[in-house]
Symmetry: C2
Subunit: 308 residues, 2 copies
């Protein structure tokens, strides 16, 4: 039996998932993306991955969600700001026995997916890359993926384990677990600290971590996030401050994705990072003045692009 998996949003991260899964003999991969050039190149010459792994595979790619056939699994890898439109368009491909997993940044994506799909899987992934050319993705960073049931949709653990098995067989180290919130919130708190500071100052990660004023702001933002996670009963899988120091010692200058968005004047994921921490802090009765302030500033920055 062939397992069909659709990748909703086939940018750098989505392509890394698509390419690895497509190497499995019993898996058929459908890549859905709005980038027509990338889709055309994949259909004509296959999807090429280089860097941490180097291979080219055949993948079905389309810009038209209605062409996606019924799938056992979906993996959503769009920017968070596009989750709603993407899953609304692709929802027809999933039934009550399917499960759709978010591997996106921030929190709040699973809630949106669950408006359209019966079984949702909460996911957090560390692999990263960038588009080299249409059909060709550089696989820059190897990392683990953590997945677990999205609690409100009561996704059976057997679906989580089945997806984890497929990903592990495909070469993407994946841990299926009953509660994936600790891994997700560790990355959320890391991102909600480093991303807005990078976007607002223009500093790469290492420079911001090592410059005393911004390094102190990183820590202060992390402290608020940790307080919210604690109030929600979430046990963090990693210490976000250690993640910051570890990333700061990596070679090269890495610009946070939100800084890349700001430089390209693309809508950022701030609502799914700091906005989510503020919203969930309010629900838990935990004040988050600094996350609110950087959220307000990034929203203001986005507003300036349409105002100038």
């Amino acid at each position: 039996m062939v397992v069909r998996i659709s990748i909703i949003g086939c940018g750098a991260v989505g392509s890394i998932f698509a390419a690895h899964l497509a190497r499995l003999a019993d898996v058929e991969v459908w890549a859905y993306d709005v980038n027509a050039g990338h889709v055309r190149a994949i259909n004509e010459s296959g999807l090429r991955i280089s860097g941490a792994a180097d291979f080219t595979v055949s993948v079905h790619a389309t810009t038209r969600a209605d062409e996606i056939p019924r799938c056992e699994f979906g993996i959503v890898a769009t920017k968070s700001v596009h989750t709603r439109a993407a899953i609304a368009a692709a929802a027809h491909a999933f039934n009550d026995r399917s499960a759709v997993c978010s591997v996106q940044n921030g929190v709040g994506n699973e809630e949106i997916i669950a408006e359209h799909v019966r079984h949702v899987i909460r996911g957090t992934t560390f692999p990263a890359g960038h588009l080299v050319a249409p059909g060709h993705i550089a696989y820059d960073i190897v990392g683990k993926t953590w997945i677990g049931p999205f609690e409100p949709s009561g996704t059976p653990m057997i679906l989580v384990s089945a997806l984890a098995d497929l990903l592990n067989h495909a070469g993407l180290a994946t841990i299926g677990m009953p509660d994936a919130r600790g891994a997700q919130w560790s990355k959320l708190i890391f991102n909600a600290s480093t991303n807005p500071v990078g976007a607002l100052t223009g500093l790469d990660h290492g420079a911001a971590a090592k410059f005393e004023p911004t390094g102190a702001l990183f820590d202060a933002l992390v402290d608020e996030g940790i307080a919210v996670a604690k109030a929600l009963g979430i046990t963090l899988h990693d210490d976000p401050k250690q993640m910051i120091r570890f990333a700061a010692d990596a070679p090269g200058k890495h610009k946070a994705s939100m800084l890349q968005d700001a430089e390209a004047r693309r809508l950022t994921e701030v609502d799914f990072m700091n906005g989510a921490i503020v919203r969930m802090g309010e629900q838990a009765g935990v004040p988050t003045p600094l996350n609110r302030a950087v959220w307000q500033l990034v929203r203001g920055m986005e507003h300036s692009w349409s105002n100038s």
Copy 2:
């Protein structure tokens, strides 16, 4: 008897002061500035003001502080980041009967001036303009000036009144008062709210005030500044939130001076605005997390200019 007044820093604001004072028959004005083109143009063709007033006057201008003769008064109008170098260079022009008045943004300039000059006057000014061409300043905004003794230097009120009289005769509405801190802190809190938000987001003042997220951040920053002023026993002369709304309704798009600095990649006055509020909040036992955060972000932004 001729009164000699030197203007230390003859940019837009300094030139407005210099030009008005130079129209008085019994006043001799010396303008000291590092902008050689502006100084040369003033010496060759006089200092021209246009806009809210329109006239050209003869002013002594120099880039060499040692050429400034003994003066009865000094008016410091540099950007705050240049106060230390400017007054150190010009200090020889003042003796124990002279008084030097700051009309700069932020707080902390009087402290620096007092390291070099016996009698210091605390000042806050609202007139504003911009350089049109060397020797020619556009006088954009008419406003009052508030001056009073800098408390630690025990400046006699008679010196404050004498300077206020000269400025009023010159056409610059000036109020001399025993305690000018209320006027200075009103403008400080206004600036410490609107300037970093403008610089970090790129929004002009009106757009930032009217956009809900940044408008709310304006108010939250103001609230911290008001709490510090209150703890210091300072009664604000104006309500900074009213100043924000009033300025937001002014015609045209006004970019905060710190946004202009950011666009030109010039060191900003953030240390004399938010940095000062944080420092004085610490002394008074008042927490200022938001002023600290925007100070950290603006310092990070400045750091990125030398890091990229």
